[in-house]
């Protein structure tokens, strides 16, 4: 049962990512990225990281995707000649794809060669309690600075995006 769900999620994620690479339409790519993010959240659940799965779902599917859709809406030009302006131009494909296939197979080879003995701790409990405890005790300083970082990013992005007279 576990394996079947995992294989389904893996096919969903990898297939949608491949679709993002193949398609030239920006809007199709955004919709496929929705699927990739859903699949990734499911894979996080399979990796027993429920906190990460929920936050990933909330931040990416809820926030970042809407942001990208707004970006597309605000930057699409007016259609004069009736052609599809969401089509994206591409560089020549041969050389980048060769590089990427080489990287991918190199990685697979590395995975094959490495024999890390990593014992998995069977633990079906939710990790929310432990992670919340750690964030407010051991990692509280980093947590505060993440808040400051978010504030800086928000102020900076509104400053950049404002209309200057």
């Amino acid at each position: 049962m576990n394996n079947i769900v995992f294989i389904f999620l893996a096919i969903l994620t990898c297939g949608s990512a491949l679709g993002m690479l193949i398609t030239k339409n920006l809007l199709h790519a955004v919709l496929m990225m929705f699927l990739v993010m859903f699949g990734l959240a499911g894979l996080f659940v399979m990796a027993k990281a429920d906190v990460l799965a929920v936050s990933h779902l909330m931040i990416y599917v809820g926030g970042a995707m809407i942001l990208i859709l707004f970006g597309i809406m605000l930057t699409s030009k007016r259609d004069i000649l009736g052609k599809n302006l969401l089509k994206v131009e591409e560089n020549s494909k041969l050389f980048p794809l060769l590089i990427c296939v080489a990287i991918c197979f190199g990685w697979f080879q590395l995975i094959n060669l490495s024999k890390i003995g990593f014992e998995l701790i069977p633990d079906d409990q939710s990790k929310l309690k432990q992670v919340g405890f750690l964030l407010t005790t051991q990692y509280s300083f980093v947590f505060e600075w993440v808040g400051v970082f978010l504030l800086i990013a928000l102020v900076g992005s509104t400053f950049i995006a404002k209309k200057d007279e």
Binding site: A49, V51, L52, I59, L67, T75, P96, F108, V131, K163
Partner: protein
Amino acid sequence: MNEIPLEAFWLISAFLFTIGFAIILIKKNTLFILMGIELMLGAANLNFAAFNRGDTEQQGIIYGLFVLVVGVCEMAIALAIIIQTFRSAKLRE
């Protein structure tokens, strides 16, 4: 409940990372490149989550949360820059 081996997560994460890299190299649109970067961050996070299973102190999950925050900040600022460059390009026409 049988555990899913670590290698399966590695394979998927390597695949996603390379596809994100390919998108960055091939596409000529800034929004597309942004999405490729998000794919790469997601792949890295998947590795963190997979390795976290052998850790009692949950370091992988906490690091993954911070990676998530940095990715979202980067996306917000990049979209602001995209909108501003679009505006200035429209003014120049």
